[in-house]
């Protein structure tokens, strides 16, 4: 299954002429690879070797960088999204997992699962430049578009931490459902959503009021949330499904059967579909956000997690 150079060239040429030309950079934890999928053709164009059981991913869109956490290797790998090459590595913490980067491309924030701390990294100097203590086993991270507010889902404390990135201090702690793992911000940055592994639901958090304003029941062991076409999509690991709810009313709309252990999920640039990573099935699926049908499928390397934002919108 090694990607053929001709295939890579073909995919790049194809992407260059396509309207969107997005690529997914999916950390495959079992294989120690990052699978690169050309999303227009849903073809796998590369498997980039990345050691240390890679899991989390964040993309600096303008800079063309993918940042991948390796919790067992205790480092973040820097990938060039255009050349699909490893261009650097930054050692950080004891178990880097969740990762986020603001649209400006810096700093890169990393949640450390064991140290209960979030690190800030300068991706140019490739150095840790700050950190802040949060709750136990911080998992997902999400950052506002202006880069000033960073949210950490503190899994083993059933809470989120709201971090002021200028001072690297926690400004608020908000209790949510049981074992929040993935965390996602609304497009306007006013609401946050956590997928709660322990209570099989999603907490809807009003960041202005600093409180939970709604709860959406979903399937067994939810992992992460994404939004497209006014709908929320939640991966349910044990159920092998994606729960769909209305973003405004929070009403449950449907359940889509996907692969085994669906994990990472992210909307396409056009807001009309979502991409779902299936850890057990080794696949990336595209779901049409309106018809709720699975419309395309690509293979990945073994054990893909894609925890974070994994889609690069090629300019």
């Amino acid at each position: 299954m090694a990607p053929r150079p001709a295939l890579i060239v073909a995919a790049l040429l194809f992407a260059g002429h396509a309207e969107a030309g997005d690529f997914a950079f999916v950390p495959a934890q079992v294989a120690n690879r990052v699978s690169v999928i050309a999303l227009d053709s849903m073809s796998r164009v590369a498997d980039i070797p990345v050691a240390g059981k890679p899991a989390g991913v964040a993309i600096a869109q303008q800079a063309g960088r993918a940042y991948v956490t390796s919790p067992e290797g205790k480092f973040v790998t820097i990938l060039d999204t255009a050349t699909q090459a490893v261009v650097g590595r930054i050692t950080v913490g004891s178990g880097p997992l969740g990762i986020a980067v603001p649209p400006s491309g810096a700093p890169v924030y990393v949640a450390d699962w064991y140290e209960h701390r979030v690190y800030a990294i300068d991706p140019v100097r490739r150095a840790v430049i700050g950190s802040v203590a949060v709750g136990h086993s911080p998992s997902g991270l999400a950052i506002t578009a202006d880069g000033h507010r960073l949210l950490s889902a503190d899994r083993d404390d059933d809470q989120i931490s709201v971090i002021d990135t200028d001072s690297m201090t926690v400004r608020a702690v908000i209790k949510v459902g049981t074992r929040p793992f993935g965390i996602t911000l609304s497009a306007d940055g006013r609401r946050a959503y956590t997928a709660n592994v322990g209570s099989n639901d999603v907490s809807v958090i009003d960041l202005g009021a600093q409180s939970v304003i709604g709860t959406v029941k979903v399937g067994d062991r939810p992992y992460a949330v994404a939004f497209a076409s006014g709908r929320g999509f939640v991966t349910n690991q044990y159920a092998g499904t994606v729960s769909v709810f209305d973003e405004k009313t929070l009403a449950a709309l449907s359940t889509v059967t996907v692969g085994d252990y669906p994990e990472g999920i992210e909307a396409a640039a056009d807001n009309r579909s979502v991409y779902v990573v299936n850890w057990e099935s080794n696949t990336l699926l595209r779901i049409d956000a309106n018809t709720l049908k699975v419309t395309a499928r690509a293979e990945t390397a073994d054990g893909p997690r894609g925890f974070g934002k994994f889609v690069w919108h090629r300019p």
Binding site: P71, G95, Y114, D156, R179, Y238, D260, E280, D302, R305
Partner: protein, 181 residues
């Protein structure tokens, strides 16, 4: 450093219930299968009752509730010194697809070095219908919930324990069914 460690140990004591679900950040995967020269429906009949784990050689006894409905449980008593136990719960059951998924609710990692373990077993017919394949796969975390695990609780040890259970059990199932044919 000392300060941090003392802080951690206090936290560990105060959060004992919370640690029931604690695990590392890297999920592991094991998949094993066996071809059996017996039709699928007969193989399925042997393993289809979640309550009955007697086809798994290491199990001495199973105390079950709830039949084959999701949420059903089985309390497995193992053939080992001290009669260690594993508590499992049925997650989903599909008789038409000859498949079910279950998870471990409670186990001492010294008995079976895993955390957050879920497993699926599926029987499928061979192309000619005369034989079958049993596939058993699991997702789980290593037995040690923190970083830098001791060797007996690291990723390799966890994978080895699950692999051995599956291989031994599938081979025993094949032997007993083919032998009785």
């Amino acid at each position: 450093m000392l300060k941090r460690f003392s802080h951690v140990s206090v936290a560990v004591i105060s959060l004992l219930p919370a640690l029931a679900m604690a695990h590392g950040p890297s999920r592991l995967k094991v998949s094993e299968s066996v071809d059996i020269a017996i039709p699928a429906d007969k193989v399925w009949a042997r393993i289809s009752a979640f309550a009955d784990a007697s086809w798994i050689p290491v199990v001495a006894k199973s105390e079950a509730t709830g039949g084959n409905e999701p949420g059903a449980t089985r309390h497995l008593i193992l053939k080992a010194d001290g009669s260690p136990t594993i508590d499992e719960e049925l997650v989903s059951y599909d008789a038409a697809a000859m498949s079910y998924k279950y998870k471990i609710k409670l186990v001492d990692p010294k008995v079976f070095p895993v955390n957050n373990y879920a497993s699926t077993i599926t029987v499928s017919a061979s192309e000619d219908g005369k034989g079958s394949k049993v596939e058993w796969h699991a997702g789980f975390y290593r037995g040690y919930p923190n970083n830098d695990p001791p060797p007996e609780l690291n990723d390799d040890a966890s994978e080895a324990a699950v692999t051995k259970l599956y291989q031994d059990s599938l081979q025993a199932l094949k032997k007993s069914l083919e032998g009785g044919h």
